[in-house]
Symmetry: C2
Subunit: 236 residues, 2 copies
DNA sequence: ACGGTAGGTGTACGGTGTACACCTGTCAAG
DNA sequence: CTTGACAGGTGTACACCGTACACCTACCGT
């Protein structure tokens, strides 16, 4: 009761509160809506106040990504290595899909925070526990690349532009057919992916399937290398 | 001789000239140095003049990426499909390494320009010509992901900070050892990668090797699927 | 000779991140 | 009880950004 004057009117700013607010804002309005000024306003505070809890905007982004990483499921180590890696990566994917901005944020981040390192370390531990040498574990994690975060770049999908008018099926088909002479192979692929119904080309690919396709292809390849005792030793 | 008055003093602005200047600037000073204002100044022109040749900054970036794509080697179709894909992707890698900013630019771009589509189409053509069904070609290109551009994210490497003082070998070793209790598996990997000499940890990974490792792993997996006539048909 | 037009100019607006000096309320030590 | 340090919120200011819009000017084909 000593601090009733100013304390009740505004919850105290906190690094935690700043980051959570930023995540909520990005969830609702996209990563582009994150600005120190806008965030400060949402928190009922002057922009510079944020800098008492976050070094700069880059660190803010890093902190937001860390919050997403905290949502990853903990390892369930009763599993066989392949299932464990698979489960952890797919769990990462689920978290990243919950926060659509995270994909871009992770790609643009370079700092490895303790949360990032912790995740990578535990994933490496899954390989090691499954009989992978440290050497093979190293290369194998490189091969997974960004897939350890649960996403791959969308090579074919149109980036959804919320302001664009919904194109008619006919317009989509017309556009697709324009490719025919110039990009015959892409057309072929589009035909195969839509069962020949080019009006469905706007539906995009089944990202989840593509993700698991590549993931399993890699995991099977890893398994083979592990079984033959593959190593890159003595290579310049 | 009719236009001697103003023509000789300044080469006329051109979309080509704008893009080439931007690429040269990015090569020298990084993608962060690309601003409409700075670019205009370098061209001896007022900022808004650029907009007569380029719709906006996004299109400028797209155009720069297109110039990099133009450096990719043309297909050498005497080759077997695997060698051809391998060669084209590694050629893309060479071009991207020549322009270090391109990696980030490609990742942040979403527009598919004719140059982008043309490259993807011809890569798809290599698979098709090698006996891949359109269906399998589709999934296989998704699996390659950003690797078709010749790069993978650097999971372990420290982003080189040109302003940072060069750390001593002893300092590097001390830093590395701090990880020991917290990140034992990453430490293991670092040990394996440096032959136990942690002072060499700053040298980073052999990106070229890691790239080819993953690429070949995937290509071999693709080959297996092709041989068994794999298809995703009849899958919701 | 003349009107249209492509291309370069100048000004202006609303946004950004953040450096720096300042104030203010809380709390521990004297 | 006083005091003084200090964490945390404030206000102002700067340098930069992309780009909308109106303008001007020099060339061109008619």
């Amino acid at each position: 009761m000593a601090q009733q004057t100013g304390a009740a009117r505004r919850a105290p700013l906190t690094r935690e509160r700043v980051l959570r607010t930023a995540v909520a804002r990005a969830d609702a309005a996209g990563i582009g809506s994150i600005s120190m000024r806008g965030l400060a306003q949402e928190l009922g505070v002057v922009p510079m106040a944020l800098y008492k809890h976050v070094a700069n905007k880059d660190e803010l982004l890093d902190g937001m990504v860390d919050l997403v990483i905290e949502e990853f499921d903990p390892p369930a180590d009763a599993l066989d290595w392949k299932d464990e890696v698979r489960e952890r990566v797919l769990s990462a994917r689920r978290a990243v899909l919950r926060h659509p901005w995270a994909r871009l944020a992770i790609e643009s981040r370079t700092r490895r925070t303790p949360a990032v390192l912790g995740y990578m370390d535990s994933l490496a531990g899954a390989f090691r526990g499954g009989g992978f040498s440290a050497n093979l574990t190293h290369h194998v994690m490189h091969a997974l690349g960004n897939r350890i975060w649960g996403f791959t770049p969308e090579l074919f999908d149109e980036p959804a532009d919320p302001d664009a008018p919904p194109p008619t099926a006919a317009a989509q088909e017309a556009t697709a057919r324009q490719f025919a002479e110039r990009y015959p192979h892409i057309l072929e692929i589009a035909m195969a992916a839509t069962d020949g119904d080019l009006s469905r080309v706007g539906e995009g690919c089944d990202e989840q399937f593509e993700f698991e396709f590549a993931l399993d292809l890699l995991l099977d390849g890893f398994d083979r290398l592990r079984a033959e005792g593959w190593t890159s030793r003595r290579r310049p």
